[in-house]
């Protein structure tokens, strides 16, 4: 195996001496309590300051794209669940969009609204996890439990809807698997009324706390140009001021019928990323409420057989996940197996800007920045 240090390029364009006695390599290995998954990052630090970063991924590679080629179109759906396992609904959605476009399916309106409901509840659960783990990375134990109490309820709702808590397999080609019933709707409404005070509590716990603020304000600042150059999307891009949200720019699944804001913040530091995701939780709650209030009647799926052959062609479609833009490029050759499915994972592109941001920060800040990026290595490695 070749040594990763041989692949060193100077991260910021300045020449560093090859080796120096003041610097040493610290390996935050694939097993680490705070790297949000199996991620290996080599830091060359001078004391506490990071001078060089070599991120190494691939520890969770399972060959999702290759396996999809051997399963039917229908069978590729459960695989997408396991990519970004925290936002599995969005992944299901991401695969159904290009296939429906290719087959020119008209998805019924109720199905689209149900999809929005599921997607937004999933987004809420994912951002709650982000909130909890950011607190944990910084050393605070309680925000984790506050967040997970609410996330537990959100997962219970998704379990009532779809049958699973994490890998849902709920959004199918043409609609969703099962309809929402009145008891489930009642549970959703209870959740909405119970979540609001907890939402306020989560704000109060972090916002006024001086220690939190000093740990995350000013840490890992990023400019819009840098982020766009690296292809970063999602809350990280919105945190530096760019108002890009695919739910508004390229609406899919009935998002154009809902009223919500796109949250941006001016500085691109860890606080801004936290702020964007926190406020997005509030927006998701608004969307869920609107969804329940205005659910149209109709079928929950456009009936379609299990084994189908889409027409040959290639399509690229993008959806908005809690992590950014998930793009799916499919090539179909007219058989009942996909010829090629390629996923453009948002976390993969987000991580490419990591080395730029980590230069010059301390080791504690490395953890905070990585936590604020909220990567999921299932989709980085696929």
């Amino acid at each position: 195996m070749s040594d990763p240090k041989d692949f060193l390029t100077t991260q910021t364009g300045t020449l560093l001496e090859k080796e120096s006695e003041d610097r040493f390599w610290l390996n935050m290995g694939p097993q680490h309590p705070s790297t949000h998954g199996v991620f290996r990052i080599l830091l060359e630090t001078e004391g506490e300051i990071v001078k060089n970063v070599v991120p190494i991924i691939g520890y969770l590679h399972r060959g999702v794209e290759k396996i999809s080629e051997n399963r039917e179109w229908m069978g590729a759906l459960p695989l997408t669940d396991r990519m970004d396992y925290l936002g599995a609904m969005s992944n299901n959605m991401a695969l159904t969009l290009p296939v429906e476009e290719l087959m020119e399916l008209e998805v019924p309106r109720r199905a689209q609204w149900l999809r929005v409901l599921a997607l937004e509840t999933n987004r809420l659960a994912s951002h709650l996890l982000f909130y909890g783990t950011l607190g944990l990375d910084l050393g605070a134990l309680t925000p984790f439990f506050f967040a997970f109490r609410q996330r537990e309820i959100a997962q219970y709702l998704l379990e009532l809807l779809s049958g699973q808590r994490i890998t849902f397999n709920y959004i199918r080609y043409g609609g969703v698997r099962l309809d929402i019933t009145t008891p489930i709707e009642r549970e959703f409404r209870k959740f909405i009324t119970g979540f609001r005070p907890a939402y306020e509590e989560m704000w109060n716990l972090v916002e006024g706390n001086e220690i939190f603020r000093t740990r995350i304000i000013g840490v890992g600042e990023s400019t819009p140009e840098l982020l766009i150059k690296h292809g970063v999307t999602g809350p990280i891009l919105r945190a530096s001021g760019v108002k890009r949200d695919l739910r508004k720019d390229r609406p899919f699944a009935a998002y154009d019928e809902f009223d919500f804001d796109v949250i941006t913040h001016d500085k691109g530091d860890t606080y801004s990323r936290w702020y964007c995701r926190y406020k997005e939780m509030g927006e998701s709650l608004k969307i869920i409420e609107q969804c329940l209030d205005g659910m149209p009647d109709g079928p929950h799926i456009k009936k379609m057989p299990f084994f189908f052959k889409p027409p040959p062609g290639e399509i690229y479609s993008v959806t908005d996940t809690p992590r950014g833009d998930l793009g799916v490029y499919i090539v179909s050759d007219g058989s009942r197996f996909p010829y090629r499915v390629r996923y453009r994972a948002p976390s993969f592109c987000n991580l490419s800007v990591l080395s730029e941001l980590l230069y010059g920060t301390g080791i504690g800040d490395v953890i905070a920045i990585l936590g604020s990026f909220d990567p999921v290595f299932g989709e980085v490695d696929r």
């Binding site: 069978g75 759906l77 890998t167 379609m304 057989p305």
Partner: protein, 242 residues
């Protein structure tokens, strides 16, 4: 001044000192500790609340009842008289993305029953496609998720006692214990029908949704003339000084 007034002066000095130190405390607090105090107060309220009501479900003691749609252990349902609904149409075997189900039928017509029905439970990831497609509502995902056993041999199939390839004996369960009230159906195959997953009970080759011309096979091959040859001599690998 006499000795008695000393104690008065001491008191005055103490009070002044106290006031000035309060001023210092104000300065310290004003510098940003108020947010910390409100965070502390929030956590203290949570602490007190937990004496009255705690949300913890002490799991092995108290059971967690899963929702009706929970996809747990795969079961083949029989009613109290021992009648199975499965008529070995082999759609679940076709639907399973990993081809884990094997169904071999026997009999004809209304008496068609599976002679062999095995499921390789080791690789099953509970996607539920088999349940979605079954036209006779013969299989379900039960609400049982506690599939761990104390002995290895208890988990294995009765067939060969060393693998997780379950046969019918392992998979059957009484319908009254499994049938969730959710689907609100008295007619079998409601779920598959609502999803439209089968038009009629024919295996795939005879039934296709849309007819297309198969794609031109050449279109997807890379034409070799279009690829540029990279000559290694043109690209110099720079020497790194050690």
């Amino acid at each position: 001044m006499q000795l008695e007034s000393i104690s008065n002066i001491s008191t005055v000095i103490t009070v002044l000192m106290f006031c000035v130190l309060i001023f210092f405390a104000f300065v310290v607090v004003r510098s940003g500790a108020t947010g910390i105090v409100s965070g502390l107060r929030l956590v203290f309220e949570k602490f007190l609340r937990n004496f009255e009501q705690n949300d913890t479900l002490e799991y092995p003691g108290e059971d967690r009842e899963m929702g009706h749609r929970w996809k747990g252990r795969f079961v083949q349902m029989i009613d109290e008289k021992g009648r199975m609904r499965c008529d070995a149409c082999q759609l679940c075997a076709q639907a399973c993305p990993d081809n884990l189900i094997e169904v071999l039928p026997e009999g004809k017509g209304r008496d068609k029953r599976p002679r062999v029905y095995t499921l390789n439970y080791a690789a099953c990831h509970n996607c539920g496609f088999c349940v979605d497609i079954c036209p006779s509502d013969a299989i379900r995902m039960s609400r049982d998720f506690e599939t761990a056993t104390y002995q290895r041999t208890d988990a294995f199939s009765h067939d060969d006692n060393e693998s997780l390839v379950f046969n019918l004996e392992d998979l059957v369960a009484f319908e009254s214990s499994v049938y969730p009230e959710l689907f609100d159906s008295s007619s079998p195959g409601e779920l598959a029908d609502s999803l439209g997953y089968f038009k009629n009970k024919k295996i795939f080759e005879e039934d296709s949704y849309l007819d297309y011309e198969p794609m031109d096979e050449d279109a997807l091959h890379v034409v070799e003339e279009d690829v540029e040859e990279i000559d290694d001599k043109d690209y110099e690998i720079p020497e790194l000084d050690d």
